[in-house]
């Protein structure tokens, strides 16, 4: 995700790394808090190596003053990404396997795992819920947070279904 995002942001105009990070922060809101400049530069370097991005600067300048821009290959990638409709998938399969492995290998009680995960998601939901309240209504950040809330709700529902199913399996019929 992040590579295409950075590329697309460069499509507007060539930018410094810190400018990109600032724009990201404005668009993502509190979700962007964990993203630091170092990570941004790592991504930019990778993109440069892949030939999607080029640097414009004088060789004597410090790294944080570099200005990055799109190469034609990068432009093409951006265009492709715009029309790409694959939707980010949550990794349910991993948790599903975790439960099965725990049951089969007697590693842990699946229902306890589910409860623990549920509690964690609930706490996260609470956090995001509060964050939504703090943002301005209809802002970019609020919109993103809303999406996260809804996904969490959906995941919680699935966890509830898991709980019912796994409880049934463990209680003798």
């Amino acid at each position: 995700m992040q590579q295409e995002v950075v590329l697309a942001m460069l499509a507007k105009e060539p930018s410094h790394g810190y400018e990109l990070r600032a724009r990201l922060a404005r668009a993502l809101g509190p979700v962007a808090e964990g993203i630091n400049e170092a990570q941004m530069y790592v991504t930019l370097t990778r993109l440069e190596k892949g030939g999607f991005v080029a640097r414009l600067d004088a060789p004597t300048q410090r790294s944080d003053r570099k200005v990055y821009c799109l190469t034609p290959a990068g432009q093409e990638r951006v265009t492709e990404w715009m029309s790409d409709v694959s939707w980010p998938r949550p990794d349910l399969a991993e948790f599903h396997m975790k439960l099965i492995a725990a049951a089969q290998g007697a590693l842990a009680d699946p229902v306890s795992l589910i409860d623990a995960q549920r509690r964690d998601l609930l706490r996260r939901l609470r956090e995001v819920g509060r964050a939504v309240m703090e943002e301005e209504k209809d802002s970019n950040a609020a919109l993103l947070l809303e999406g996260i809330v809804l996904r969490l709700q959906a995941d919680l529902r699935w966890l509830q279904a898991c709980e019912i199913a796994w409880t049934k399996r463990s209680t003798p019929q």
């Binding site: 992040q2 808090e33 609930l122 939901l125 609470r126 956090e127 309240m133 709700q153 019912i164």
Partner: protein, 249 residues
């Protein structure tokens, strides 16, 4: 745990059954619950799990089949109808999913209703109602009939009404159930505000988002508690985990 002034709701072995013989339905099955003053408790569960029944019992709208229930220091399971009514009037405020406003009264008159029932003079009741309507941001609709208000506005009037006699505890049964998301948002904000001021809240809902605004979240299924989560206390999480940014390898 002894009953202390800080325990506002105490239930032990609470049961509610309907019907008999083959048609017996156990809406609540031996539930124990303690709620402290100032706490916000959410009860979540699928429909038919008994969460509404629990709320109705706490609010004195129905009588338990068995068990001990005391609210604001009074034994609800032993009170007469009259005493229950006084309890509902003075200590408990109820917010319903279907609003249940009186269609023939204006917003202001609906909010005045509990105050007048409690014996306030008309001017006192009016002053209180005006202040409460301002708090819920409906001062300009005071003279409107419920039929002229949107769902969200009606629920806000209902909340103001629930606060009319300065209750100890506010019980909300699916308060946003009949509302669109924008109105639900407003109502949610109101409830959170009340909680911030120290009011004790019990909210019954199927919506996790509403539920996670509480301090404690109790999950119910088939008339019994299955899980309880403490949501406050503990460190603040890191929202950036949602961004899935690549770690430095």
């Amino acid at each position: 745990m002894n009953a202390s002034p800080t325990v506002l709701v105490h239930a032990k072995g609470l049961r509610k059954e309907y019907g008999s013989g083959e048609g017996l339905v156990r809406a609540l099955d031996a539930v124990d619950l303690d709620i402290n003053r100032g706490e916000a408790v959410a009860v979540i569960g699928p429909s038919g799990c008994g969460k509404s029944t629990l709320l109705h019992l706490i609010g004195g709208l129905d009588r338990p089949s068995a068990g001990v229930l005391s609210v604001a220091g009074q034994r609800v399971d032993e009170l007469s109808e009259r005493a229950l009514a006084h309890l509902r009037r003075d200590e408990i405020g109820f917010v319903f999913q279907a609003f249940h406003l009186m269609d023939e009264l204006t917003a202001q008159e609906n909010v005045e209703l509990p105050a007048l029932l409690a014996g306030c003079t008309p001017s006192e009741a009016r002053a209180r109602a005006t202040a409460l309507l301002e708090e819920v941001d409906l001062a300009d609709r005071a003279r409107h009939l419920p039929s002229m208000l949107s769902g969200g506005q009606r629920q806000r009037v209902a909340i103001a009404r629930a606060l009319a006699n300065d209750p100890e505890i506010v019980l909300a049964d699916e308060p946003t159930g009949n509302l669109d998301s924008a109105s639900a948002f407003e109502v949610l904000g109101l409830l959170e505000g009340l909680h911030a001021k120290g009011l004790t809240l019990v909210i019954v809902t199927h919506d996790e988002r509403i539920a996670t605004t509480a301090d404690r979240l109790i999950s119910m299924r088939d008339g019994a508690f299955v899980d309880e989560t403490r949501l406050t206390g503990g460190s603040r999480g890191n929202l950036s985990t949602f961004a899935e940014w690549e770690r430095l390898s």
